[in-house]
């Protein structure tokens, strides 16, 4: 059994309470993996520690216990191999769009000449359709364009994996849609491994190969992993016409609305099994949610996840 590309092993994070000695456990003993080239989304309510997981993965925060192995290396700090797309674009306002990307490129390639850096940065700005606006400062760009610069900056360092922390949550629906299309196009071209946090169920269904559902915090855990049973090639326009769309969507909404809270309140709910069960909601009713369903053959999950039983979680739901 080979290790996943990103392997989260026994991850625990506690924060000291501001008042006294008691510690707040955000999440405890998390185990899951993301394969190379896979697009994984985490969905959960605020406070379940989604962003903390991402920060630890980015190397900006350290776990209280457990560890993450990413691309064969123990995560012990930030790395150019793990690019982050921040929630608020986090662009340097004193630099132009080009300057922001160049700053990243010159960090990745300190030996490059100015011309090389510029050409490389321009290539990635063109990828997100910002050539022509490269000399504008972030304040002169729209919210969507700023986030495009953020994407270009992350991609320009050619990372092994991309970490996205609710990247489109601050954008209006139309802009969000066009950026999601952009992400789909880029991923189809690069097969980039992506770990993304979102609140948006449709966004997860559109972009992700698998969706990690987290219970409410504190002491949150990954209740289950939902494999996306929609066809690989999917577009925003066609998404809701897929037969598996509503079963999937209902499953996610149902989790967010009721189960995430119910599971958190029930101390017995958490299974002793460290690997979260994999669920495959499909339109075919009786055996819909089994990992042995023929429809799911194309979506080969991680080997150690494939054997996970789902009966327990179905009962819990």
């Amino acid at each position: 059994m080979s290790k996943a590309f990103i392997s989260v092993e026994g991850l625990t994070r506690r924060f000291p309470e501001p008042s006294g000695k008691a510690e707040l456990t955000v999440f405890e003993d998390l185990w899951f993996g993301v394969e190379e080239g896979e697009f994984a989304c985490v969905i959960g309510h605020s406070g379940c520690g989604k962003s903390t997981i991402l920060n630890i993965l980015a190397g900006l925060d350290a776990p209280t216990a457990g560890h993450i192995i990413a691309a064969g290396k123990h995560v012990q700090g930030p790395s150019l191999d793990r690019a982050v797309i921040f929630q608020g674009h986090a662009l340097m306002p004193w630099l132009s769009a080009l300057g922001n990307v160049e700053l990243a490129v010159s960090s990745r390639h300190p030996g490059w000449s100015r011309a090389q850096i510029r050409a490389h940065a321009m290539k990635y700005l063109a990828l997100v359709h910002l050539d022509g606006s490269e000399l504008k400062k972030p304040a002169q760009l729209s919210g969507g364009m700023r986030q495009r610069v953020g994407i270009a900056r992350a991609l320009a360092i050619e990372p092994r994996m991309l970490l996205m922390d609710e990247p489109f949550s601050a954008l209006d629906a139309l802009t969000r849609g066009s950026l999601q299309d952009e992400v789909i196009a880029i991923r189809n071209a690069t097969r980039q491994t992506v770990f993304m946090i979102t609140h948006d169920v449709d966004e997860a269904l559109l972009l992700a190969d698998k969706i990690l559902l987290m219970t409410n915090g504190p002491k949150a855990w990954v209740a289950e992993i939902v494999a996306n049973t929609l066809p690989k090639e999917r577009t925003r326009a066609e998404l809701h016409k897929q037969p598996n769309y509503y079963p999937l969507r209902n499953h996610l909404i149902d989790f967010l609305v009721t189960r995430s809270r119910a599971l958190a309140l029930d101390p017995e709910a958490r299974p002793s099994n460290r690997n979260p069960p994999v669920i495959r909601p499909t339109a075919a009713p009786p055996h819909a949610a089994t990992s042995h369903h023929p429809q799911s053959a194309g979506q080969a999950p991680a080997p150690h996840l494939a054997s996970a039983r789902i009966a327990a979680t179905q009962a819990a739901g």
Binding site: L60, P78, A90, M92, L103, A139
Partner: protein
């Protein structure tokens, strides 16, 4: 009738200036021969007694004197008779010397305080006690230890301009957005590169604000310092002319002090504008 605000404000400024000069002229003009007196005696008494003229010079006299100084700003006729240009140059040179040393000290220490909560706490009591001390209170100590009045004046400028820059730099550095520092971290930027490429430009507007306050204070203090140390400089000039009872020269010098102060401030405003960024 649509006239631009700038033009209207300019007109009002001009009107106010005219009113001021007019009032000044009337206030200082003579009332004509007040009492009949012996011409020899009148000569001894001067215009103040004989013409009812005020000891205060009028705008015309001051204007003529300003013109005279502008025509020949750099004459040097011995220790106590140098042109205003030379005196101002001495003062500006002292201010710049003290100020630049203060920049070299305050900005690195401000960076240290801004980046290290430990140093921030540790240095805070010193700063809190030293900051409110009038810079001139240092003068005797400076004269005693340095034994050079010129350098002592520079030291006083240094000590008065260091605090606003120090505090603003520390504040600017400490309030650099966490997300920008996180970007620097994920790009594996070295601490030096982060300081140069991220923290410095991010904090530059705040640092420049401190530098602008400092140059203003330095220019305020140099006049007082030069009155104490004497020899050269615009402050010494003012005090010397007071001893000469030349109120005309005193008023002229006051005006020039104002103009130079404004020029220094505008220079800093220009720099401030250069590093400003819209967020």
């Amino acid at each position: 009738m649509r006239i631009g605000l700038t033009l209207r404000a300019g007109l009002v400024s001009l009107l106010l200036f005219g009113l001021f000069v007019g009032a000044w002229h009337i206030g200082t003009a003579g009332t004509g021969p007040a009492v009949k007196m012996d011409p020899e005696y009148a000569k001894l008494m001067g215009a103040t007694a004989t013409q009812g003229k005020s000891a205060m010079p009028g705008p015309a006299e001051v204007g003529a004197r300003i013109w005279q100084h502008l025509k020949d700003p750099f004459y040097d006729r011995g220790t106590n008779d140098k042109g205003l240009g030379i005196q101002l140059a001495y003062s500006i040179a002292r201010v710049l010397a003290g100020y630049l040393i203060a920049v070299a000290v305050a900005i690195p220490i401000g960076f240290l305080i801004g980046m290290s909560p430990l140093m921030s706490r540790a240095l805070d009591p010193f700063i809190q006690i030293l900051k409110p001390i009038s810079p001139l209170a240092w003068m005797p100590l400076a004269l005693y230890t340095i034994r050079d009045s010129g350098i002592s004046a520079i030291f006083v400028i240094f000590i008065c301009s260091v605090w606003p820059m120090l505090i603003n730099t520390a504040f600017g550095v400490a309030s650099v957005r966490r997300e920008w520092l996180n970007v620097a971290k994920t790009l594996e930027m070295s601490p030096g590169r982060t300081a140069w490429r991220v923290i410095l430009p991010a904090a530059a507007p705040t640092i420049l604000t401190g530098m602008r306050i400092s140059i203003g204070i330095a220019w305020l203090v140099i006049v007082a310092a030069e009155m104490l140390v004497g020899g050269t400089g615009i402050g010494y000039f003012v005090w010397n002319e007071w001893n000469n009872l030349s109120i005309t020269n005193v008023i002229t010098a006051i005006l020039f002090i104002g103009v130079v102060g404004m020029a220094l401030d505008q220079l800093m405003a220009r720099l401030q504008h250069m590093v400003a960024y819209a967020d």
